[in-house]
Symmetry: C2
Subunit: 254 residues, 2 copies
């Protein structure tokens, strides 16, 4: 005889929860509730302590640290431990920085949960681009300037003459680059190569909504130097707008 | 003698607050707090009653209704009334569906506040794309499938052979179209014209997180018929993925 498969009812609940950009008050009410009811919380270094404190004192807190440029926990190991914990019948919260659906590896964790017969849900969150724009009083779309928002990463492969992440650089578009600081040189070169004006405005939001948050403004040509001058090497969101008006002006001059 | 300009300290506070997709528990804690402390709330029809109920009973609630295809309140009138209210020294909340920075006309309202010397802030929110993906257990980016997320609208101008909103249709990209239901025919044609496979998967999320929320799945070729068959005419988020794998397959066959 074989054991019956674990039924969803007996197998706990896996909640993949968007923690937002960092500040506790930028969690959603649903995220707060899931944390308050959690038996176990899996988190990584992008999540602030004051967010973790929302879980009951008795809850297990498990660090599955993973950050730009380092992979201390491979994804398949994370999948295995969160599923194993839910299979014990526990309410498991897997905290994700920002929104789980944007660079959050949520497809892999949901697939693992489904394969194990575990009930799973995703709680959306405020993604870094929105938090960075809000903190600086700028808009990610704007009439007559930008009608489209592109969220991408600058994980360019060495040797690409034109980083693939710049393929969406087109007039009327705001691009937000996640995890891109270390690629700033190649990012600038790629965007200029796509025809973006060197004067295109750039906003660099560092540690948005966290203590020590700061913002730099520069033009595209000066992006790498600006990051270097201010010693920015870690988590930052780079917002670049390729305005519509520029093209119209260019088009008017044959 | 002229009157002195209103000082920020005396002129109240204007908060442009992201209300998220609709459900009250998808508000952020900061949004809830701003509502609870509001003297006046400006809202439109995309915001649910249970969100408005968070404001004190004594708060003024002002409908500045505006929805797809109709403009009962022109933007400059909205700018004028919210600024006038803040100039009376009140704490004014301007509720925006989703995130204020994405198709929220926030630049215009902030500019009006600045011109009047009013202190203003933006409280970010969960945008419709993130809520729709979370509700359906899908990811907006996915390793090996899509490394970029594009948020745009399908407000195409009549006569455009290729709707401008399809300019970002490229392999490895997930596109989310806001306010696009009425343009579904031209949207499909434009995307196919960009080389997207007719079998590209499409998710249509209707009234996400609200009572009566539902989701349709189809392939790109069947999008207009699917919307028509289900009588979808109002607020829906259309998610289309142009997967990487497809191109690689195409590229492998000379």
């Amino acid at each position: 005889m074989t054991n019956p498969p674990a039924s969803p009812a007996a197998a706990g609940l896996l909640s993949l929860v968007g923690a937002g950009p960092g500040a506790r008050d930028l969690l959603t009410l649903r995220a707060m509730q899931r944390l308050q009811q959690a038996d176990t919380v899996f988190y990584d270094r992008l999540v602030d302590d004051e967010v973790l404190e929302l879980a009951p004192p008795s809850a297990r807190r498990v660090f599955v640290g993973k950050h730009v440029g380092a992979h201390s926990w491979p994804q398949d190991k994370i999948n295995a431990v969160i599923v194993a914990e839910a299979l014990k019948g526990r309410r498991v919260v897997r905290l994700k920085s920002g929104d789980p659906g944007i660079f959050g590896r949520v497809a892999e964790e949901l697939a693992a949960a489904r394969a194990a017969g575990i009930e799973a849900e995703v709680v959306p969150g405020v993604t870094a681009a929105c938090a960075a724009a809000a903190a600086n009083g700028i808009s990610l779309t704007e009439r007559g300037v930008s009608d489209t928002l592109v969220l991408t990463t600058a994980r360019c492969r060495a040797g690409d003459p034109l980083p693939d992440c710049t393929r969406h650089a087109k007039p009327g578009t705001t691009m937000v680059f996640y995890m891109a600081v270390r690629q700033a040189d190649r990012l600038r070169d790629g965007l200029l190569g796509q025809g973006m004006p060197p004067t295109a405005p750039v906003t660099v939001a560092v540690d948005v909504s966290k203590p020590g948050a700061r913002t730099l403004f520069c033009d595209l040509a000066a992006l790498p130097q600006t990051l270097a001058q201010h010693g920015i090497t870690g988590v930052a969101t780079i917002i670049v707008t390729y305005p519509k008006a520029q093209t119209q002006r260019l088009a008017a001059v044959p």
